[in-house]
Symmetry: C2
Amino acid sequence: MNDDLPKGFRAGTAQANFKKAGRDDLGLLVSDSPCVLSGLFTQNAFKAAPVVICQEIARRGKPVRAVLANSGQANACTGDKGLENCRETQAMLSANTGLSPDEILPISTGVIGRHLLMERWAAAVPALVRSLGARDAEAFTRAIMTTDAFPKFASRDLELSAGRVRLTVMAKGAGMICPNMATMLCVALTDALVERQCWQAMFRAAAGKTFNRVSVDGDTSTNDTILGLANGVAGVSVASGPDHELFENALTDILGKVAYMLVQDGEGASKVIHITVSGARDDADAERAARSVGHSQLVKTAVYGGDANWGRIITAVGYSGADFEPGRVSLTLCGVECFSCGQPVNEDKEEVLALLLREKDIHVAISLGDGPGQYVFLASDLGHEYVSLNADYRS
Amino acid sequence: MNDDLPKGFRAGTAQANFKKAGRDDLGLLVSDSPCVLSGLFTQNAFKAAPVVICQEIARRGKPVRAVLANSGQANACTGDKGLENCRETQAMLSANTGLSPDEILPISTGVIGRHLLMERWAAAVPALVRSLGARDAEAFTRAIMTTDAFPKFASRDLELSAGRVRLTVMAKGAGMICPNMATMLCVALTDALVERQCWQAMFRAAAGKTFNRVSVDGDTSTNDTILGLANGVAGVSVASGPDHELFENALTDILGKVAYMLVQDGEGASKVIHITVSGARDDADAERAARSVGHSQLVKTAVYGGDANWGRIITAVGYSGADFEPGRVSLTLCGVECFSCGQPVNEDKEEVLALLLREKDIHVAISLGDGPGQYVFLASDLGHEYVSLNADYRS
């Protein structure tokens, strides 16, 4: 057990048997003192009940105290009853802790379209509250895993001018991953002192550069939520210039690290494809091209198979909708130039490429011309395991 | 051998060993008399050399005589040399037949980024010309297959007021299928008399309702081409009102039949998903929702696995970008209502659905509200075979 949460935060987990027996599927994070909240939520029109409720709390702008998480049931597409059930779980935790329901942020992941099993919640919440005490990020992260192969969390201490603060990020996600303003589920905790609007702005910027630039399967979930809780217990503010920059860079870095883990653990994924587009007319065009390549089933299966089929990458750039001159496009795969200003090159490098494609991290660099636009996107490959995992996910 | 081409057309095939030995990979269609041409081409920015040349011929608006097709090499992303090689294949056929190069439409399919093997072309073209004579659609269609599991063609005789005409459509395609204004490769022949602008307009409309509404993997190819050749040999015009309508309906119907075959033969596909969206604000919104569902890896794998995971369908509607009220959305899967006005229903129908999902044709009906917008889209499922076929396509 690692003592890796920031000061003033405690975690707990319990087993409610929502989907699979023999594992913790309820997680709780509580701060000893009120926290400033930042939140980013899915852009999917069908927002899960816990997303709707977290958004209500975030809009209110009041301090919060706890995150109540479950796996096995997403409580998405569950209509009015789904909202009632979600509020009932807040009430259960409130009754067992004395916290106000409005201070409790619910987050859920799992099967869509089924109602929460309320008897199992009622039976497990007291044990969940009793388990509180550990400051262990891993146990909480394990409780929110679904098809994840490993828990995704990272922690870092920062020396600021007025003292030391800690940042801890815990996330889950392996499928239905194409975050849009947030990831599947992610909680970031800090004991730094930070003002609400500044915390939200930092979060939005850091997520934009990290979680919003990864994809496993292009499916944006109904439950994507990223919560940031700052309790200020370290008594160290991040308001001033250099400290603010140091803190924001660390936040971006640590979110990037966890976002990379999401792609690395993409369902059935064996490789992470790093797609860098440069020379585009603008960043939006670079993004179009990069996303198109990262979402192409043909590119993803070729990378899975270690096949240097770079024509599929160029094809995906071609239908991306980005505006460019085909005759000025160049492509480098694993450091080997394959296509230069619209012409194929290095046709004799097949054997070298076959070796390079055995690596776990595959680098694709595309230049669209000499414009200033650029974008980096991370995508997983697509293999047999993805199909196996998703053909019968619910049983 | 079937005598199923329209009057005045002859076909031939030959073996050039472009990729695999022991099969015909060159196909030729020749009309005894000049044909009115209609053409639709890929929207991909990287247009293969034969697409560029067909577009030049189509723009010129002059009558054409022949289609020269090959599989095994796409001649896409091959730059200036690719264009030269393509013109050289026209010249070879011209030298062997006396046809003008400008009357010869080249179409290619296969591996992207490699140059045509010109010696093999030179060796095989004389045999290709000698083979001309059969009026067999199947042999030509087989010569342009790549990963296709079966040849895709259909023929129909129509009784118009002035006599009988025939329509024959031949297509190939199984992967990199998300046609945009055309499909991978498709040739439609008729012996009806039809004026050029009318033929092009009919084609555009018919393809819009058929080929442009199917997807295997969401990848729009560099080589998508659909050519229509009308030689008028039957001496029967389709200019007048009822004949025009009869002919256009038959064209739409027969293109729809062949487009269905493309999805049915989607690489590794075992099922065809028929996605009907209605009640949308407008047709464009209905299309957004239908395409989003048809492209969702999670929906496609669930259908492959026979898993009634309708939440994934709703999720894909949710991130489609269509404008609707989530509380007014309903979903029927295989005739069973699963989601009604934003609430889950029929939660006890799992066993019935499991049985219904064993069918080869899976019907998904989504209502977004009470607007006039609607759209129908056909998509394949996503299974292990797709991954196997595409992880190592080139070897």
